[in-house]
Symmetry: C2
Subunit: 431 residues, 2 copies
């Protein structure tokens, strides 16, 4: 969502000539799903099949998917599909019976994190994981305040939508929520912003329960460098009695190419780490990893049960995803291909390209005109790439940053195809 | 959760002699999943396989499942398993692309409801569906108050856990939440309770956004009769400017045996209907059906996107569940077998049996001693049945109501086996 309240890259009726079939489908959606749903692109896509980095449309065209980070090990990866199919036929039940699979997965997941992070609780969505992080951080600290970035997105439950300014002015922020500018530079300005937010909360008699950030700052425009820029802000919130929640729904599971988790490159150990989208490669599974002290009091006084969270099939899917990340060396692939991809995009040197940022297979490209952020042109590029057979979107408060986030199986050849098409579209968009 | 804050039928270490293997698993759970998780039964079960109404344990024993309403068309139903496996191999993507399957499902689902209910929005869990109902009802009415029953359970997000007194005193209710006794008799006392809650909210300057009830009152102790008992309460909340949210996560999808939805037998048309557990027979899919006026304003000002909600595989699973309900005549089965089952339980006439209530395949049996609700004896019966190879649990504010909720494929023979074993366990428990 841009700061003017409109969604970046949303379909708006009348902008493109739809076929009779597409018109029928759009009208039927409106009637059956109601007015809160949005489609992507001026000319929406009717997708019927997915395979690795490709999405196939009903008209026979195939699209290079450089956007969907859910199918992070590739659409319909056969190892994950087989794991789901096998387990669904054997048992699909919940966490109130004993079973080794969930414990084996938990152990394997926790082993990828710093030692202090020792428990994992399972949910179905990143929203639920962040919502639980809100509950636990409030319970642990006894405080009520939350600090997020200006254009943050943390999910759609009541609690976390109130901490997601990127949902626009139609979704009010909570009374105890303060926003700070996303980090630029060495992080000193970000730390100062967090200090100011703490002071502003204090004037309302509120102490911070947590600073929550997406560690790649996806909805703010993709900010990865320099490593370490989060340190001062996290120290500030801890001094004030709050904790640090690393929202790894976007950055997690190897996307940044230099480790499994985005927070690691900042040299931090969060109190809570929330996981989501890529965790099951599309199967609804998510989780929250935490330091034991955070849940000790809550667990003594209360319980948490999520009917589908960590069910037998979810665990099979999530385990298969870890297998693929390891067996196919996808973190190393994200690092190598990501670096090559970033250089390729930079090398285009197109006149409308501002800063090109990213880490691994998460890239943001600012689009500017005469030194001013140009969301309208970014939209034209997104739609031009769609017409050229490549899927991306845009992000940031003015919708002017291209958001490029392909599956981790992206190869150098895919990167070259992308760069070549982006160059053409940039030239056409200027003309 | 009982009103003293302990969970009904939770494992407590030291109550039963566990094997070395079980002890190892319990300790490993505590270490990896932390203290907020609970297991069922004094002697927890290690389940490794599910088939129709049977759950198979690691030790080779099989258990008649008369508790798990998620696998509502039977554990690992081959039609549902095949639908999941097939779709997972073709495409698993989200609602921002066009596709007919989600629309076909939406149309089919909405056709089972009164005409005024016209839109469906998809989530992954019943908690998310209820959480969205909270957001939409507040947005539509402009009001902040919520009324639920004394021992209600509506989910685990921050917003709906604050409307779930059954989670116990460790999870505080919201400041704008009021509780009322569950309905007994003709509903006039329930309506009076809702009127009193509205008046109490008014004294705090708060108007009601909604009355939200589980239409089978599962966590309150299972209340189904007489049909129509909800009418007065719903009229009262509407007069005060609020709406009615029917939480069908427990009663929905045919369980009551006289229609797809629990609210229907009360002659009501809710503004919002939330769906969950049995919707995908274990695949994480849930939804919220609504009258268009509820979301018109919200949809104009804001959007809702749930990454996994209504994804391609979720829709395939949910569609397959509707197929099975129709093709196997499961609503009629729930009606017939449910009536036979209820009579069979009543005919036991055991001295500790108080009221036996239920509708279709959802039965509650009060356990009393000397006219007093006896939660401790109910626990012994639940654990005795487990040892006899049958799975149920208990519910209600004092944990004294047996909660019996088998898959809808339960047959007369299963009912007879259950009744015979229940009779034996009741005799042993008295002795």
């Amino acid at each position: 969502m841009k700061s003017d309240g409109t969604m970046v890259n949303a379909f708006v009726a009348g902008q493109a000539q739809l076929s009779a079939e597409e018109t029928r489908m759009v009208e039927r959606r409106q009637k059956l799903l109601g007015p809160a749903y949005r489609l992507f692109y001026q000319h929406p896509l009717h997708i019927v099949q997915g395979q690795d980095v490709w999405l196939h449309a009903a008209d026979g065209r195939k699209y290079l998917d450089a956007y969907n980070n859910v199918a992070s090990v590739g659409h319909c990866h056969p190892h994950v599909v087989a794991a789901i199919a096998k387990q669904a036929a054997i048992l699909s039940t919940n966490t109130r019976y004993l079973g080794d699979a969930i414990l084996d997965y938990a152990e394997r997941l926790i082993a990828t994190m710093p030692d202090a992070l020792q428990h994992v609780m399972f949910t179905c969505t990143g929203s639920e994981a962040n919502d639980l992080a809100v509950r636990l951080s409030r319970d642990f600290t006894g405080n009520e305040g939350f600090i997020v970035t200006n254009n943050a997105y943390h999910g759609v439950t009541d609690a976390v939508s109130a901490m997601s300014p990127s949902l626009g002015p139609g979704v009010p922020l909570g009374k105890n929520v303060r926003t700070v500018p996303a980090p630029f530079g060495d992080g000193s300005a970000f730390a100062a912003g967090v200090e100011a937010a703490i002071a502003d909360l204090a004037r309302a008699g509120v102490k911070p329960a947590a600073l929550m950030v997406d560690t790649i700052f996806s909805s703010d425009g993709v900010f990865a460098d320099p490593a370490g820029f989060l340190t001062g802000a996290v120290e500030a919130v801890r001094r004030a009695g709050g904790v640090f929640i690393a929202d790894e729904v976007q950055a997690g599971f190897g996307r940044t190419g230099d480790g499994m988790w985005g927070f690691m490159r900042h040299g931090l150990v969060p109190e809570l780490v929330s996981l989501g989208k890529p965790m099951g490669n599309g199967y609804p599974v998510a989780g929250l990893v935490m330091q034991p002290k955070i849940v000790a009091g809550f667990g003594a006084r209360a319980r948490y049960f999520n009917t589908f969270g960590g069910n037998s099939v979810a665990i099979a899917a999530a385990s298969a995803v870890l297998d693929v990340i390891e067996n196919q060396g996808l973190i190393e692939n994200a690092r190598q291909v990501g670096a090559y991809f970033l250089e390729g995009i930079k090398s285009l040197g197109a006149p409308q390209m501002g800063e090109v940022r990213g880490k691994g297979l998460f890239v943001g490209v600012d689009i500017v005109r005469d030194g001013v952020d140009d969301g309208a042109q970014a939209q034209r590029i997104v739609n031009g790439l769609r017409d050229a057979g490549i899927l991306i979107s845009a992000t940031g408060p003015r919708g002017h940053s291209l958001k490029i986030r392909p599956p981790l199986t992206f190869t150098a050849q895919h990167a070259e195809l992308f760069v070549s098409q982006l160059g053409k579209v940039m030239r056409n968009t200027l003309a």
